[in-house]
């Protein structure tokens, strides 16, 4: 923008540019959207005027005409204390980056916490967004169902747990694989009886991760009897569960469904005077800030959120250009970030 022009001055429009360049409005529009239709010298001239005037097409007008806003809706839940939506936040950052590359923006909207559908409707009917990204498929997929019903485009972060027949595009991370990595790592560094701290059975994500632990234990030929517990996702519940499990001296390692639970185990160790890593191995899940900063560092399963965002944008792009999605379901693999909570030697 020319630095001397104030916002209150009239913005240049297609007409302004056209007049200044001595061409018709349509030619300017073509210079923007179909440059290959213009003769080279015309194109150059128009572009020069556009730059000179600092012209940017009016989004509202374009949107009204093309019925496309280049906005992607994302329902943003209330900040919840204690439990970490840190993963969600990190995902949003990566999503903003990824959508920017295709000229899209993310529109955040709030919804009544008791109504998983609230907010979608209005944005959609107002043609304010082109598509949605849905992140809470763990709670079933009411929003996805709604959008499917009205034929609105969307992509979910999270597989359709309750509906294997669902055909919508989604991206997810193999939680079971992550838990398996965690458990195998603990077995490798010499722990035999690895306990599992997971969420209530109602959580599909939680049960998926637990299955990974069970698979790794089965592969090692170790029974999981009495080693797996289901608790709510908070530090104190994990701390108490860990205390209980540690009454059995053969239990020397914990794989957990979240960093919150892993940190709870670290609390129990601190209270018992046990050394993380050396005496008892602990692995969390999500590689949150907490895992990174907590003493002495919590080994954790990290989701490739950057890649998730890129895949989602790719799917979004395909869906929005009305192409057929050839590969609507994409499962990514997490990795293990090793920190001192699983280092046994004293080269610490």
């Amino acid at each position: 923008m020319s630095p001397s022009r104030r916002h209150s001055d009239p913005q240049p429009t297609l007409a302004t540019v056209a007049e200044r360049a001595g061409v018709s409005r349509q030619t300017v529009s073509n210079a923007l959207n179909n440059p290959e239709l213009l003769r080279e010298d015309t194109l150059a001239k128009v572009r020069a005027v556009i730059a000179e005037l600092g012209y940017t097409p009016n989004r509202a007008a374009r949107q009204l005409r093309t019925r496309s806003s280049h906005m992607i809706g994302l329902r943003f839940e209330e900040a919840q204390e204690g439990t970490s939506n840190a993963t969600m936040d990190r995902f949003v950052h990566t999503l903003v980056e990824a959508t920017a590359r295709t000229g899209h923006h993310i529109v955040l909207f709030a919804g009544d916490p008791d109504d998983p559908l609230d907010g979608y409707d209005e944005l959609l009917r107002a043609t304010a967004v082109d598509a949605f990204v849905i992140t809470d498929t763990y709670a079933g997929t009411p929003a996805a169902d709604l959008l499917s019903r009205v034929g609105a485009p969307y992509v979910t972060f999270g597989r359709p747990w309750d509906d294997p027949s669902a055909r919508h595009p989604w991206v997810d991370v193999a939680g079971a694989h992550g838990a398996r990595l965690a458990t195998e790592h603990l077995l490798e560094v010499g722990h035999a009886r690895v306990a599992w701290l997971g969420w209530e059975a109602a959580s599909r994500i939680g049960e998926d991760r637990r299955a990974g632990w069970e698979a790794a234990m089965a592969a090692a030929g170790t029974s999981t009897d009495g080693l797996g517990v289901r608790i709510t996702d908070n530090v104190d519940a994990a701390r108490m569960a860990a205390h209980e499990l540690l009454e059995d001296p053969t239990v020397t390692a914990f794989a957990c469904a979240s960093d919150t639970l892993g940190i709870g185990v670290l609390h129990a160790l601190a209270e018992r005077g046990l050394r993380p890593g050396v005496d008892v191995g602990v692995v969390g899940f999500d590689d949150s800030l907490g895992a990174q900063v907590t003493w002495p560092g919590l080994t954790s399963v990290r989701q490739p959120l950057e890649q998730v965002a890129i895949e989602i944008v790719d799917l979004l792009h395909t869906v929005l250009s009305h192409k057929t999605v050839t590969e609507p379901a994409r499962m990514l693999e997490p990795t293990l970030v090793v920190r001192r909570s699983t280092l046994r030697d004293s080269a610490r």
Copy 2:
């Protein structure tokens, strides 16, 4: 939306509603925007048809006409590992909630990290947003300067550190007051020599917080010689600085410019076999998730982010209705959240 209608069907427009209700388009528009102009029975009839058809005004058309998008722009920085933009994330959550109440949405946009101005321009010229919220005033206020220059409305979270003559609306939290609360708390529970772990001198926020510590120490009549250090905001730097300061046995407490630094101190204590709270008191800043989950719990200064968001939306509202802002500068006060890192007794 009537559940049976698909998105591909034509959306109802003003004209549809008008025809169905047997009134003119303008009357429907008035029913929406100036209901007091209509006779009661007309209004009721129009509203009934609106509900029946599931009509929502097209945002693009409205925006084109009124030149107002009801979108607020917020530049969203890349996810940074290790250092916590957790405060920023929590703020965004509260902002989404607060703006929703006035019918606005938050548009996130990315910008080249090396160019603090990148992204604003385009959104503005495209008339895609009505206003901006700026959050990184600590880095000077280049974005605010740009927006002032072009006459675009904005509110900042953060005072104009480098320009006391700035007249734009802003909301901030008194960091010095927070550090003072932290220091006074440590003095009250019986520590005499309270050290300060803060950021480099270039950080205005950091120096502000430090000033609060100095004020509290001065009020207690204690010299701060050799007790204040300036380091980068990461756990390890704090850990090492704490080790150094703890060589002096009279140093028994730390007030810190961030939770990250506070957690670094906890690491040093763990390595020295000192008990947080009992032997050494530690206070962090921001009440992040880390402070809440780290063992044994980190006392921290909490910013009233919900209130910040509410004040910002209020200012935004005033600015956007072209009213004069009577009180453009609003300073809020943080509070202290006490956890076990400052509890001396053993009722722990």
